[in-house]
């Protein structure tokens, strides 16, 4: 099986879908000839023609509106928002339109669109190239929100997203594009090639939407994480030596409540990790759900380890980023109770 990094895996997912399904189109800012600022659509315009893979004006709202209209026609468009930080101009079309069309039309119309957006920090992008706005989508019923943490899942989930008949917001943790970042910027970067989940089938396969993965089984405490934070959590577990179970949520909504509840009911402890700001972040929902599902088994307060409630400050990337040190501190606090 070939080894792929995350960029290649995502590219392969779109390649496979473009080849299988004439109704799949890709578009967005710089995605056509150039192949995307992160090269995720590299080569696809050349292979499938510029009617299927093309550049758009810089109008995120217009990009999503096009996708919605194309979806109503019957296509399966895949739109790229260049950075998740720039998804806000598209917010109305996503929230008021994409998410509502099936419901409001009595299922006469639906919206089989995928909106890809690189998210998260770790590349010194400052406050407008580092955001993790997933919680702004998890609150919106009608949207499916996904964030993969490795090449295998990225490809399988992106294929599932494209094949899904409802709108999917697909966040790609940009810090993971080229390697499984464990939160130690000072250490040499490891390439994906050394990671088992970089073995990615060339052809079509799906990773199911709504199913979490156990990134590391354990008994002492459950860590709920997604995206980059899965790797950071694993590093923190290794560094603290705590026998944590690390769950990679993969899909945030609809979340795999069974996997979460089963684990926390067993471990009795839970640490939730995300990069987004804390207040009203998706961690809040996870925490609320965990205590609703597992109240009588909880032996310690659920901990949230998150980005601070500030914009992502350029110079303080690593003081902002919830790295293994902070996750480890959270783990220790939860174990100490």
């Amino acid at each position: 099986m070939p080894t792929m990094n995350m960029v290649q895996a995502l590219n392969s997912a779109m390649d496979v879908m473009l080849a299988r399904e004439p109704d799949v189109l890709l578009f967005g800012e710089d995605v056509g000839y150039f192949g995307g600022v992160f090269r995720v659509t590299d080569g696809l315009q050349k292979k499938y023609g510029h009617q299927r893979v093309f550049d758009t004006p810089i109008a995120e709202g217009g990009i999503v509106a096009l996708a919605v209209g194309m979806g109503a026609y019957g296509l399966r468009p895949v739109a790229e928002i260049q950075f998740a930080d720039y998804i806000y101009p598209a917010y109305d079309q996503l929230v008021s339109e994409a998410a509502r069309i099936r419901y409001r039309s009595g299922a006469e119309w639906w919206c089989p669109i995928t909106v890809r957006a690189p998210c998260g920090g770790g590349i010194f992008g400052g406050q407008t190239h580092s955001q993790s706005p997933e919680a702004l989508f998890t609150h919106v019923c009608g949207l499916t929100t996904i964030m993969p943490s490795n090449p295998y899942d990225a490809k399988g989930l992106l294929i599932s997203a494209i094949e899904d008949d409802d709108p999917v917001i697909f966040f790609e943790p940009k810090r993971l594009y080229n390697g499984p970042f464990d939160g130690h910027p000072d250490r040499p970067a490891t390439p994906w090639a050394k990671h088992p989940l970089s073995e990615v089938p060339e052809g079509h396969y799906r990773v199911p939407i709504g199913k979490a993965a156990i990134a590391r089984p354990g008994n002492a405490v459950t860590v709920l994480a997604y995206g980059t934070m899965v790797h950071v959590a694993l590093a923190a577990v290794a560094e603290t030596g705590i026998d944590a179970e690390v769950i990679d949520l993969r899909t945030l909504v609809p979340v795999d409540i069974e996997a979460i509840a089963m684990s926390v009911n067993r471990t009795g402890r839970c640490v939730i990790v995300h990069e987004a700001t804390r207040t009203s972040g998706y961690g809040a929902e996870l925490s609320a759900m965990v205590q609703e599902e597992c109240f009588y088994k909880l032996e310690a307060p659920i901990e949230r380890v998150t980005g601070w409630d500030t914009p992502y400050p350029h110079a303080f990337e690593w003081q902002y980023f919830p790295g293994p040190g902070r996750v480890g501190a959270g783990l220790r606090r939860v174990m100490a109770e």
């Binding site: 189109l25 009617q51 299927r52 758009t56 004006p57 109008a59 709202g61 217009g62 509106a65 096009l66 996708a67 919605v68 209209g69 194309m70 979806g71 109503a72 026609y73 019957g74 296509l75 468009p77 101009p89 109305d92 079309q93 008021s96 339109e97 509502r100 069309i101 099936r102 419901y103 409001r104 039309s105 009595g106 299922a107 006469e108 119309w109 639906w110 019923c141 009608g142 499916t144 008949d165 409802d166 709504g210 609809p254 409540i257």
Partner: protein, 414 residues
């Protein structure tokens, strides 16, 4: 700088307010028949003056004049008249029913019937519409049953939208009428996406989108013009300038500074401005634009210059913000009266026939109304099954909604 006068903030105001006499004498209305009709291959640049004109076909005597006379036979015109009358009668009844408490809300299109009806007639039946809430005439012109529309207005047991939408937010896939959004403007850019999809597939169907004068300030209008221009999308974009956006006259949307049609110029989109109360002119202009789109020549922007004769909605009272009688003074008349007059001038219609037709459409509305009320009204039901509330959020009901559906039943037990 000391040598400059103090700046001043300009806030536009309509010419007249309640308590003053309505007056439209400032309007520049070209004579019927006076505006040229360029070939559909004309570039946006070359025809840019048309964005400042007003295409009119029917003169004051009801005669069709000039280069824009559409090729419509009398039978078609009578069908148009009927659809407009039916639209008006339907509006009257539903508004009355709303007042009687049978539903929560209603929106009429009185005075603007020609816009939707004449435009619907100018498209193929399979072309796709992305309307606003004031184009019920599109459905009626496509012979969509008013009974079905009434069931939506009543959110009743037969409402295909399962009671989910505010009254008048229709949807009909079969009629090529996209689910109306309560959020202004969003449909117009979606129309471009649909049109691009059709072009991508090598289809022959084109799309059309509508937006109000007020809503042109929303981003989607800009997206629609930009995207339609860039990709030469086969879409007809319509601004229905009915002079008002709730209480704001069209100057608040920029209408005092330039015509809404002229917005197209800077995007390189041909723009036409038409007397929206002139059935023939509306049809001709729309047909021109549809032909253009269908011939792979791209998009056209049409401004339909009309007047909102009624209130904005059943929640509105225009006497609070516009002069009394403004509606009657609208210099472009009433679309129904004008088409009727034209047919009479043609010798294809009479007052007597008109009276019969009116009675017929009123009876049709009454009968449909009776049946709709049997199927339920918002105040007295029957409504759709309440459990449908949890369906269609996604294709499959996710676990949280399955739980919430159960919870609803459990708690209704309490």
């Amino acid at each position: 700088m000391a040598d400059h006068p103090a700046l001043q903030l300009h806030i536009p105001e309509p010419k007249h307010r309640p308590g003053e006499a309505a007056d439209f004498s400032h309007l520049r209305l070209p004579r019927a028949g006076s505006v040229e009709r360029p070939p559909i291959t004309t570039s946006a640049y070359d025809m840019r003056e048309l964005a400042y004109q007003l295409i009119r076909v029917l003169d004051d005597d009801g005669r069709a004049v000039g280069p824009w006379i559409p090729a419509l036979d009398a039978a078609t015109l009578r069908r148009g008249l009927r659809a407009m009358l039916l639209t008006r009668a339907y509006d009257e009844r539903m508004q009355r029913m709303q007042r009687q408490g049978k539903t929560s809300f209603y929106m009429k299109c009185t005075g603007e019937e020609a816009v939707a009806v004449a435009q619907a007639f100018a498209f193929d039946r399979s072309d796709m519409f992305f309307p606003t809430y004031r184009q019920q005439g599109l459905l009626i012109a496509r012979d969509w049953p008013i009974l079905d529309m009434m069931c939506q207005v009543y959110s009743n047991s037969a409402d295909r939208l399962k009671g989910r939408q505010l009254p008048v937010m229709y949807s009909s896939r079969e009629a090529g009428f996209f689910s109306i959004s309560g959020n202004l403007g969003t449909q117009i850019s979606q129309a471009v996406g649909w049109a691009m999809a059709s072009a991508y597939k090598g289809d022959t169907r084109i799309a059309s989108g509508w937006i109000g004068d007020g809503a042109t300030a929303e981003p989607d209008f800009h997206y629609a013009l930009t995207l339609a221009s860039v990709y030469h999308a086969p879409v007809v974009l319509n601004v229905v300038n009915n002079q008002w956006a709730i209480s704001c006259y069209q100057g608040i949307a920029g209408g005092d500074e330039s015509t809404f049609a002229s917005r197209g110029i800077g995007y390189g989109i041909p723009a036409l401005r038409v007397d929206g109360n002139d059935f023939l002119a509306v049809h001709a202009v729309t047909r021109w634009a549809a032909e253009r789109a269908r011939s792979n020549l791209g998009s056209t922007l049409i401004e339909l210059f009309t007047y909102r004769a009624g209130a904005h909605s059943s929640s509105d009272d225009p006497s609070r913000y516009r002069p009394e009688g403004e509606s009657e003074k609208w210099p472009l008349g009433d679309p129904v009266t004008r088409l009727k007059q034209h047919l009479i001038v043609l010798g294809k219609w009479s007052e007597a026939q008109h009276g019969e037709l009116l009675a017929a459409v009123e009876a049709e509305v009454r009968e449909a109304g009776r049946r709709a009320e049997e199927l339920g009204t918002l105040n007295h039901g029957p409504l759709p099954d309440v459990h449908t509330m949890f369906e269609d959020v996604l294709k499959e009901v996710p676990w949280n909604l399955a739980r919430q559906r159960r919870q609803l039943d459990e708690e209704r037990g309490t």
